[in-house]
Symmetry: C2
Subunit: 207 residues, 2 copies
Amino acid sequence: MICIDKTDFQALSRVPRLNLINSCMGYKSANLIGTISKSGIPNLAVFSSITHLGSDPALLGFILRPTTVPRHTYTNILDTNYFSINAISESFIAQAHQTSANYPIDVNEFEVTGILPEWKDEIAVPFVKESPVQLLCKYVNEYEIKENGTIHVIASIEKIFVKEDLLTDDHWIQLDKGNVVAINGLDGYVKTELIERFAYARVGNPQ
Amino acid sequence: MICIDKTDFQALSRVPRLNLINSCMGYKSANLIGTISKSGIPNLAVFSSITHLGSDPALLGFILRPTTVPRHTYTNILDTNYFSINAISESFIAQAHQTSANYPIDVNEFEVTGILPEWKDEIAVPFVKESPVQLLCKYVNEYEIKENGTIHVIASIEKIFVKEDLLTDDHWIQLDKGNVVAINGLDGYVKTELIERFAYARVGNPQ
């Protein structure tokens, strides 16, 4: 095994350090956040930090660096309160990744990447038509992580749209049936295949 | 597509609600956190909420519900300041999942699950011998998410141990080469296979 010490990775140049630190803690969720600006311009951006916070109430969080690309997403969320989260499937990983480019605020990432939007009745924000799992979320709060100036945005889940064949009888969403991918580091996309679902772990269960 | 509204999932019984809300935002990282108590008892617990926070300084976060099983992990981290994060590979998913059972505080989860510990020179906390990516982390801070009483623990990465064949020339860790898994919901484990790594996305890149 190779040991890379803190002093070693602090001394790396920017890109290798980003690669190493972004890939060392396992896979990340792969989602596109859809928003709309006050003036009606749709926005779409890839996020790999969306994390479950609790089920009752249904809450999630994600991390924003206010000084980098997804700031349009943040501005739109603060202005309108709502956003969509759309699972990324294998068929559109290249387009999804391209949303991380630094487009001007008046650019509609759906148009420029070719990802088809879906508009739903009585909902102002756009969804990704091809996505097998789509969430409507509402901004709830935010916490500044003072150690590095990032913002932990907290949101509630208001509606869940899911393709019927992914949903099991016990309300689990089987993501590999929708070819949902995971992200390795900043730029690696992996396909997935279910190995096993386990029972609730109890003391004394056999291995 | 099926639409499940907030009123619908709030009305579900506990297990289907946990399944649905835990699986709707994509894959989670799959790691074992290793700690040691003040009295010297090793502890190991599966965590699916470990998330990248920043690369310079190298920071990560994870979510704790202080009232549920991993509280031994939390107590040990507060007492000793250090912990290990160990990527879960396909070969030990059953044992890793079993660490989520509610063992008494004097039980050593390494012994009871059969996962082999690894002790490294001058480091007090145990690692998982079979894990292809192991991190030594140090507690930095915590933020209470007041919306549901969870705790967002912030930690620094002090050392990274990685099997040589996973590390590319540009310091990216290719997780599928170590058979690292991802978690779908509470209890589903998936294997992974790299599809593609993309270049840094720039305005004007071809699709």
